[in-house]
């Protein structure tokens, strides 16, 4: 019996060692940043390893044959989870279409918005698609594709509330952590007038309970939130207009070109418009 126990202990220890070793391997694979991949893809042997050639030029992905997209699936109708744990939405379907064009399998990693951005920068995902908007500061840390949709920042208020764009500065504004809405509002009105939440749904929840006076968020999700929650309405005047783009790690030009080419084709075919129309019904 004692010998058995000893054997078991040895086996367990060995198991642990191998598990750790496996982690180490994974780590080194992941730490291979896409920008390094691009430089090595000059050699023909390397380019075949994790990517493909064709109409879309040479590009490499982190995992061979897989396009990993990081996102924050709490942003309807652009990305949301379904009951069976998979994902749907405009971004998801566009990503699926891009992956098909590039001959890759789409894998979606769902996480916090800020984490999704960081994942693409640090080479844990190939791209981030989460209603990401481009501004100059952001261009310094990652590359962005051409835009595929227009994002409009709107203001959600309670029905009958006297909040307007003009007196926004006197209100407490709820926003989503990491969004341009947060950035604009805190720049314009100061941190004392802004409360940032982990996702838009929490912000809307706070609005329902009068914990904030209004919520500034992208129009797509705003419309879903308003239709799902009674007593809310969207102000007619838009707060800001901006463009959505796909973010990739800085310097990963191969993948960026491939994505842009695929996007252009999808746009020409009208597929992107039909995906958007499917989720956002014209008023």
């Amino acid at each position: 019996m004692k010998a058995m126990k000893k054997l078991l202990a040895v086996l367990l220890t060995l198991g642990l060692v191998f598990a750790l070793a496996a982690c180490g391997n994974n780590g080194s694979e992941n730490s291979q940043t896409p920008s390094q991949d691009v430089t090595t893809s000059e050699e023909p042997a390397a380019s075949n390893e994790g990517g493909s050639t064709g109409d879309y030029g040479e590009f490499t992905t982190i995992e061979e044959g897989v396009l990993i997209m990081s996102t924050n699936a709490a942003f309807p109708p652009y990305e949301m989870t379904t009951d069976d744990g998979s994902y749907e939405g405009i971004d998801v379907e566009i990503a699926q279409a891009i992956a098909e064009k590039l001959g890759l399998e789409l894998q979606i990693d769902n996480m916090e918005f800020t984490a999704a951005l960081e994942a693409a920068q640090s080479g844990m995902s190939d791209m981030v698609m989460a209603g990401v908007t481009v501004n100059e500061d952001r261009l310094a840390v990652m590359d962005f594709s051409n835009t595929y949709a227009t994002g409009i920042q709107v203001v959600i208020v309670k029905e009958g509330s006297d909040v307007t764009l003009d007196n926004l500065g006197e209100q407490l504004i709820g926003v989503q952590n990491g969004t341009t809405g947060w950035q604009f509002c805190s720049d314009q009105f100061g941190d004392d007038h802004v409360s940032a939440f982990d996702n838009g749904i929490t912000a809307v929840q706070a609005l329902m309970q009068d914990q904030v006076d209004c919520v500034v968020i992208d129009q797509g999700p705003a419309e879903v939130f308003v239709s799902e929650n009674e007593g809310l309405t969207i102000l007619e005047t838009e707060y800001a207009v901006e463009d959505y783009a796909i973010g990739v790690a800085k310097g990963n030009e191969g993948l960026l070109n491939a994505i842009n080419t695929a996007l252009a084709e999808l746009q020409a075919d009208g597929i992107i418009q039909s995906i958007i129309d499917k989720y956002i019904t014209a008023e």
Partner: protein
């Protein structure tokens, strides 16, 4: 300013797709995260809130913890067979539920419930501090209870036979011994509390993590703000561990060797 010019030049290169050496890149991101628009002030402001939140939550936790631990120890140390005090029994049961519920649910969940279900208030930071205090109280009470129970029963017997009443024996004989024993665990709890204040950002409490995330959002570069926040937490914890160490040594001075 020279640095500002340097930053503008290199950032322009980076934005237009040019290559920067790694230290130029490092400088741009560092400048962006800490110096531009005096962003370091935001970290300081956040650190201030973090410290205040820790202090208030700790105070609340210790008061609650002492109260709960006293009642629970008094209840558990009643002699078997002796008629039990019914009021003590009821209060003990209530406190037992409190400890079970608070220890049995995640802190983040508790904060969300306090903020969005119970209080529905705009004072997010205050609600967060309250939630932290309640949470900490449960853990502190168990630490203190452990300390009190660990003091040898003979100490209480000796005190009582010398004519001291229960409270006096506790105050002059049991608690001082217990305090010395639980100080490391209490310090541990304090450090955990300090770091747990970062969860306030979930309910929009404007502490260190909140500002670090806000700054990261501006340029989508999370690494430097996060490392900055990490360094601040680390420095705070190192300072407090050092102070706790001093207190422990001070308390040990009277020990016979």
């Amino acid at each position: 300013m020279d640095l500002a010019q340097l930053y503008e030049t290199w950032k322009a290169i980076s934005v237009s797709g040019g290559d920067l050496t790694w230290w130029q890149d490092f400088f741009v991101k560092f400048y962006q995260a800490f110096i531009e628009a005096d962003r370091w002030q935001q970290y300081l402001e956040g650190t201030g809130t973090t410290l205040v939140a820790t202090a208030l939550a700790l105070l609340m936790g210790v008061i609650l913890g002492v109260l709960v631990a006293m009642v629970r120890t008094a209840h558990d140390q009643q002699r078997p067979g002796r008629r039990k005090n019914p009021v003590l029994g009821v209060v003990n049961a209530v406190f037992k539920v409190y400890v079970t519920v608070i220890r049995g649910t995640p802190m983040m969940l508790q904060l969300l419930i306090w903020a969005f279900v119970v209080f529905k208030s705009r004072q997010y930071t205050l609600v967060g501090i309250f939630g932290l205090g309640i949470n900490s109280g449960a853990y502190v009470s168990e630490i203190i209870r452990g300390g009190l129970m660990a003091v040898d029963g003979g100490q209480m017997e000796a005190g009582r036979s010398l004519g001291l009443n229960y409270l006096d024996t506790m105050r002059f004989i049991v608690v001082p011994q217990a305090f010395k024993a639980i100080l490391p665990s209490l310090g541990n709890e304090f450090i955990i509390l300090l770091k747990d204040t970062s969860l306030l950002s979930v309910i929009s409490g404007q502490e260190l993590m909140y500002f670090a995330q806000a700054i990261g959002t501006r340029n989508y570069a999370m690494m430097f703000p996060l490392f900055g926040a990490a360094c601040i937490y680390l420095v705070l914890v190192i300072i407090f561990s050092w102070l706790l160490g001093k207190l422990e040594r001070r308390l040990r001075q009277s020990d016979r060797r």
